[in-house]
């Protein structure tokens, strides 16, 4: 027999089972209405739960995106000071984050879909429950117990199919949010423990430390060059410097080059100083 027909028969069989249990059909109308209201509450809670999970994933995505942007900036900074090794390191970490982000994005889409689905289910059920309530009052007011039976069966069959459908939708959404919750919880724990931070930027953000150190030494170089420039221009200071330099047995320009060479030795291949140096011939 056809799948569509069999599924509809399964729904009908369930409904009939409930109808068979009813003794006074009119009394059970109220009971059924109560069940419908409870289900409506449940589906609304379901919508809220899915929305909460979705927001949590959204928050995690924002955090990871910020970290990813930071790594991107670090890669640029590193390249601008000629440190391709650091830039590569930052981009490798960024790629790791990106795969986490992609997974979160899939979760987000799934939850969004469930939320829409449940919201629709909630609206449809609400319309039918409202319609059932009106019908129930009419049936109670107008018909004797015996007469009411057929009409109650009709109304009940109509709504119980919807209830079955909504019940399945809630079940499905619960399963999905449960899976997502478990994953989100694991990710939150990783973030809280600093493990993700370490993955993103290394212990104590080593890339940033290196960039800061290089930035600082770059500033010092510039400052040094400026000072040397100033000293090299004034006549009085030149005498002082000249006497100091002759005491050391070296000319001022040579002294500057020595300082520079010493710095370069420490900080790998640094770029040439931005300002022309006195005595550099540039």
């Amino acid at each position: 027999m056809s799948v569509m027909k069999r599924v509809s028969m399964m729904f009908r069989a369930k409904t009939n089972k409930v109808l068979d249990r009813m003794e006074d059909p009119r009394e059970t109308l109220d009971y059924s209405y109560q069940t419908q209201l409870e289900l409506l509450q449940k589906v609304r809670r379901g919508v809220a739960d899915v929305a909460t999970s979705r927001k949590r994933v959204e928050l995690q995505m924002n955090q990871l995106q910020q970290s990813s942007d930071k790594l991107d900036r670090q890669a640029r900074d590193a390249l601008s000071v000629g440190r391709e090794d650091l830039a590569r390191d930052a981009l490798t970490r960024k790629a790791g984050l990106q795969s986490q982000l992609n997974e979160l994005n899939t979760q987000y889409t799934t939850l969004q879909g469930e939320e829409e689905r449940l919201t629709g289910a909630s609206q449809r059920l609400q319309a039918k429950v409202e319609s059932f309530r009106t019908k129930k009052e009419t049936i109670k007011a107008t018909y004797t117990a015996a007469e009411a039976q057929t009409r109650i069966n009709e109304a009940f069959t109509g709504i119980s199919e919807e209830m079955g459908d909504v019940g399945l939708a809630i079940q499905r959404a619960e399963d999905k949010t449960e899976q997502m919750r478990a994953r989100a919880g694991a990710l939150d724990e990783l973030m809280a423990s600093g493990a993700i931070d370490d993955m993103i930027s290394g212990p104590r953000d080593d890339i940033q430390l290196e960039l800061d150190r290089m930035g600082a030494s770059h500033d010092v170089d510039a400052e040094l060059a400026r000072l040397k420039g100033e000293l090299g221009q004034g006549s009085a200071p030149r005498q002082i410097e000249a006497s100091a330099a002759s005491a050391d047995g070296a000319a001022p320009g040579t002294a500057a080059r020595e300082v520079r060479a010493e710095e370069d030795g420490q900080a790998a291949p640094a770029p040439p100083p931005a300002q022309p140096q006195a005595g550099d011939g540039t």
Binding site: M4, V7, E38, S131, E154, G158, M163, D165, G167
Partner: protein, 92 residues
């Protein structure tokens, strides 16, 4: 006739479409019987697409049972088996 797509609601479908839908349904059933998930999915998708294309939504307040009920979008064969076993369909 009224056809329900689980998770989407009910649609009025012209009786003249019954034959066409039935042909697809036969394929769907065959896939379930052969336990053939790879042909189950496209047939279900086609069936859903056809019903959506030719159906008109039933007004939400209507209290009418459906003649045919289709598994929802993304349903697996396992889901269909559970549906046919009828477990936990109707709360209360």
């Amino acid at each position: 006739m009224i056809v329900r797509i689980l998770g989407e609601g009910q649609l009025h479908v012209d009786d003249s479409a019954a034959h066409e839908l039935n042909e697809l349904d036969v394929k769907l059933e065959a896939a379930v019987e052969r336990n053939d998930e790879s042909s189950f999915r496209p047939v279900l998708d086609e069936l859903l697409a056809r019903v959506r294309a030719i159906g008109r939504p039933v007004e939400p307040a209507a209290l009418e049972p459906s003649e045919l009920i289709l598994p929802g979008e993304g349903a697996t064969m396992e889901d269909v088996r559970k549906l046919l076993a009828g477990d936990g369909l109707i709360p209360g």
